[in-house]
């Protein structure tokens, strides 16, 4: 059970005082379980409070109501168990690449000897393919390389949870692609529990095991949790050849274009924010085939091949 609800967001809300003594509710009654080792992407329009949710998970912000439980413990402020990859990379510009990563490592293992700190930092830098650039300053790096350092810094502290706030949105398309590949590879290799905010549908489809759809704010809620039906060994280049690809993509786009608004204003019959419906779009395409094979447990794995 702990693995099923490794992270458990339980009824959190965020409200800000508004003029006239009233309150603006960004989101409320937000419930979401995240499994251990799972890659979850949260998608929603600006203003639905995605970044606030991530900041609450990071411990940088506190919910107005509700709690978030991680591995059996309620979050009370930031922790080295939860590493954040910031949207704007947030490297310390007066430190070298090695210095930035080593800063995180020495914060994690305070009493570790200098040589060990450096060794761990170098390993993390090598993991993101930046070996040889250890002594460069952030200003000498391209946007993609800076974000790689951001990833290395987060990975170096071996967090239980990796939190990413639109980490690739400021990069050009080519760099974004390679970094998505790297992120997916590293997270899969490590079995890293990851929570990522994005507004890029294709990014979510490629990276996420499950995609959380947020309705529009104010008063946003989790509308649906979409199980990614694409095979686990998917690659970025042949993603679109997958038989479920268009079903999934259409579902997500359709949600963002219309349902994110209508869902909030008129939720479907029987909608319970505590248990957001789990959907697996593109299912109907191959339902016939699945019935024939009799394998309902992992239909996407068979359908993909």
């Amino acid at each position: 059970m702990a693995d099923e609800k490794f992270i458990s967001i339980e009824g959190i809300a965020r409200r800000y005082p508004a003029p006239g003594g009233r309150q603006t509710t960004i989101f409320e009654d937000l419930w979401l379980p995240v499994r251990r080792g799972e890659f979850v992407c949260m998608i929603g329009h600006s203003g639905c409070g995605k970044t606030t949710v991530l900041n609450i998970l990071a411990g940088l912000d506190a919910p107005s109501e509700g709690v978030v439980i991680v591995d059996g413990q309620a979050i009370e402020g930031p922790s080295l168990d939860r590493a954040v990859i910031f949207q704007g990379h947030a490297l310390l510009p007066w430190r070298s690449v090695l210095g930035n990563v080593a800063y995180a490592v020495s914060s994690r293992w305070r009493k570790a000897p200098k040589a060990e700190v450096e060794e761990r930092a170098r390993q993390a830098i090598a993991t993101v393919g930046l070996a040889g650039s250890e002594h460069k300053r952030p200003a000498e790096l391209s946007g993609g390389m800076k974000q790689r350092v951001g990833i290395a810094r987060a990975l170096a502290i071996e967090p239980k949870i990796l939190l990413m706030d639109e980490p690739f949105s400021a990069l050009d398309a080519l760099t974004r692609g390679t970094l998505q590949d790297e992120a997916r590879r590293v997270c899969l290799e490590r079995g890293q529990t990851t929570f990522m905010i994005t507004h890029d549908v294709d990014e979510a489809m490629y990276l996420a095991d499950r995609i959380v759809l947020m309705t529009n704010g104010p008063g946003a809620k989790v509308a649906e949790i979409v199980e990614n039906p694409l095979s686990k060994d998917r690659s970025r280049t042949d993603l679109h050849k997958h038989p479920r690809y268009y079903g999934l993509r259409n579902h997500l786009i359709d949600f963002l274009v219309t349902r994110s608004r209508t869902f909030r204003d008129a939720p479907p019959e029987g909608y319970d924010p505590r248990r957001p419906p789990v959907v697996r779009p593109g299912e109907e395409v191959s339902s016939e085939w699945r019935m024939a094979s009799g394998d309902a447990a992992e239909p996407w794995r068979l359908a993909g091949e």
């Binding site: 990071a58 930031p78 947030a90 310390l92 510009p93 300053r137």
Partner: protein, 277 residues
Amino acid sequence: MTLNLRAGIVSLAILAAFLLTWHVGTQGSGPTQAMDPEYAKLMGLTATTGKSAMPGPLDVAATIWGHLKDPFYVKGANDKGIGVQLAYSIGRVGLGYLLAVLVAIPVGFLIGMSPLMSRALDPFIQVMKPVSPLAWMPLALYTIKDSGISAIFVIFICSLWPMMINTAFGVASVRKEWLNVARTLQVGPVRRAFTVILPAAAPTILTGMRISIGIAWLVIVAAEMLVGGTGIGYFVWNEWNNLSITNVITSILVIGLVGMTLDQALARAQRLVTFPE
């Protein structure tokens, strides 16, 4: 020809034109009207030959050379070499400035980090900042009862404000994402102050320190004219009383050179802590 070389040539040309004008302007205009020999004796050469009391560049050069040959002589209380006087002034500025650094940077940190203290101390700073540091002089003389230390106090008080305000501003405007990095890494407050806030605010703090040293050097001349005894400010006033305009001009040049050196030293320090983004 590089821009620097061309600029250098223009500078030299301006200098030459200035020296030439100065030289011509201070030349004697021949004998003036005849006067009673007794009276002429009384008035001295400058009045009788029509030569201006204002020295020419050559006179000043000769005086500078004289000072350079022996800058550190001491021949009694009112006759010390210009090097000795400068050393007194630099010593006072150094001491007052150092004390100001020790107070301004911690207090600036406090103001920058605490919105409460920032608001609470703001009225005091706003009132104290525009006060001419020399206005403190009587109070300092009365309480400290030592003119030398009073001068140091005046330097302290005038160096304080720019450093304090800049430190507070630099600390308050450290990028939130850098602070968030420290928070997510659970860095303690002391380590955060030294590893994130100080390096991030250092360029702004150094700007304040540079402004302060400039003001301190401006103020020391006036302060020493008031307290007397030693220092380059006293030297200027003493030479005015001696009607030695050559020495006054020499002092002006020396004061400018020392001020420039102090400013350049801090500019260099500022470059060391500035980081490209």
